[in-house]
Amino acid sequence: MTTETTFPVNQNDVTNFSKDRQEPQWLKDLRISSLEKVDALELPKPDKTKITNWDFTAFEFNSTVNATTGLSDVVKGLTGGEDKIKALISQKNGVTTYEKIDPSLEQQGVIFTDIQTAVKDHSDLVEKYFMKEAISYNENRLTALHAALVNGGTFLYVPKNVEVEIPLQAVYSHEGKFGLFNHVLIVAEENSSVTYIENYITEGEAVKTVANIVAEVYVANNASVNFGAVDNFSSETITYVNRRGQVNGKDAKLYWALGQMNDGNTISENTTYLVGEGSYADTKTVSIGRGNQIQNFTTNVIHFGKHSDGQILKHGVMKEAATSIFNGVSKIEHGATKANGEQTERVLMLSEKARGDANPVLLIDEDDVTAGHAASVGKIDPVQMFYLMSRGISRREAERLIIHGFLAPVVNELPIESVKEQLIEVIERKVY
């Protein structure tokens, strides 16, 4: 945020907003103190991408969406028809417009509700985790902005020993100048397991705005969380998305499957803290850059637990004049004996103007560990193209086959079938 732009929200607005939503005192206080910190804090500094001139203030805060809107056709494309839906929360501009939760979940004590309801109905439980450990409001200017302005999101709580069979889905759409400050909080208690899938989309025309997204996932002893996401904002949306995993439990597991398909400038951070002994994190990401967009995808896995294991696999395709930086950091702290950290980053560039960079980093502060990395940045091999075309396949189709082939090792391994299918569709659309 530069000093000459006027910030669209002041303390009064935040206080009133919180009051209108009948929020508990702790959240109102957090909002106010976060807002006070915004100016003093600096923007985050994603490695190798300069964002100081990105305008994170160009948005409108007031949502005029009616809660009875229901599912739009765009959203139905992501969820299937209503008869097929078992567990879905759909929000537009922060307002929940559709909610359907299989009654069996409630009987098991699972909470799956929008964040606005959660802070009222489960205030203590939300407070215990909300921006407490996985992420803090005062990390940088954007996390502070996020805490001050949260206006959408979901809370998912899975009690001890509950294994949720059906995937729980959330769709967050935004339209117009509305700035989305979406917060997802997932808590998986001991011996539980759950799959959560989220979609971010722009509805209507591409209009200059901002999305500031935070997800926190807490995984307790022997619990397992599958987290799938397909981000698909328009070319005019500037996105800051920070997904954090706090894997504190012994033998706890967290699987990330992220389809990073935004068309606008994007800073995406995904950090997993492996604290529990024998904890495990698996991160798979697929990205496509096009147009003039600038993106930075940073994945961190930070090992504290003994025998913790972190796997990172990132594949990206850059076309036209897109620029993307892929940072992968495996950090093994002192005392995390027998930890293992592996990472692979691969970037395929389709044009002379595309820019891509893969930076694998291993930071190891413990002797008794194993770690490895691989990275490559390359163009389409002309000999491969010749081979495919020599069978009558057009240049365009040959490129398409090579791109699909390049992304297949990640896409085919995604643990959530519906995310895989959605991604294949989005890839198809974005590549052509």
Binding site: F386, M389, S390, R391, G392, S394, L401, G405, P409
Partner: protein, 263 residues
């Protein structure tokens, strides 16, 4: 339908400014099998790659027509769709693309939109051809040439040839690295094409050894040295080369170094 024809005249081809082909000429028609033989380094594989349009090779002089059309005015994929096929010595590996998907894309590339080959028809044809070539069914679902042995890649090239029904096929050292059983199988595939397609299928076989020609009987045999054909004849020429080697030709023509100076 008129008989297919590939006609090459006075072809000069360079790679990185070094001239490899120096005035090569040939005409291959449907129903004919031509064999081009010659020692290593005489430009045989350059010929194959240049005719298909490999990006590394530059045609500097001469012309080629395929069914009367200027071959060098056509893109690689257009040449293929017109019915030219090259079975490559070193086919590329394409990760993430299955053999079956690839072949189906290639077949459909030749057909009009809305007239794609039906899945059943495709599967039947693929099964039948793989059977002929004694290939395991699993090859359909493996990534294109990825992790294939040399022999498996060669069989896969012939499989594509049989699936795509080209009018003129160029086989670039398809016999290199094949054991005798594999050689027989590959030859069976070519001979089947020849029997079924008759006047509608011609073949240009590039080989270093005569032994492939024991299984695929050529109508014409050409010897290549110094980037062009120096001698042509019938099948008996191949037999003499097998028995006596190339030295007698060099002597007859007064050639000291038969290569084009490649390493």
């Amino acid at each position: 339908m008129s008989t297919p024809s590939l006609k090459v005249e006075d072809l000069h081809v360079s790679i990185e400014d070094k001239e490899i082909l120096k005035g090569f000429g040939i005409e291959v028609k449907g129903g004919e099998i031509h064999a081009i033989m010659g020692p290593n380094g005489t430009g045989k594989s350059t010929l194959a790659s240049a005719l298909m349009g490999h990006p590394k090779y530059e045609v500097t002089k001469g012309n080629a027509t395929f069914n009367g059309e200027d071959l060098f005015e056509m893109e690689v994929d257009e040449r293929a769709r017109a019915g030219l096929f090259l079975a490559m010595q070193y086919p590329s590996e394409i990760s993430g693309v299955t053999n079956a998907d690839f072949v189906r894309s290639a077949i459909n590339a030749k057909r009009e939109e809305g007239d794609e080959i039906s899945l059943m028809k495709f599967i039947r044809k693929m099964d039948e051809k793989m059977n002929t070539l004694e290939m395991d069914e699993s090859f359909q679902h493996r990534y294109l040439n990825e992790g294939f042995s040399g022999g498996e890649k060669k069989r896969n090239e012939i499989l594509q040839l049989m699936m795509l029904d080209p009018k003129i096929a160029i086989l670039d050292e398809i016999d290199s690295g094949l054991d005798i059983d594999a050689l027989k199988v590959v030859s069976k595939g070519i001979n089947q094409m020849r029997e079924e397609r008759k006047e509608d299928f011609g073949c240009l076989i590039i080989t270093h050894y005569q032994r492939l020609l024991n299984y695929i009987k050529p109508d014409f045999v050409h010897v290549m040295m110094q980037g062009k054909i120096v001698k042509s004849g019938g099948p008996e020429l191949a037999e003499r080369l097998e028995a006596e080697g190339y030295d007698w030709i060099k002597e007859e023509l007064g050639i000291e170094d038969e290569t084009v100076g490649q390493e």
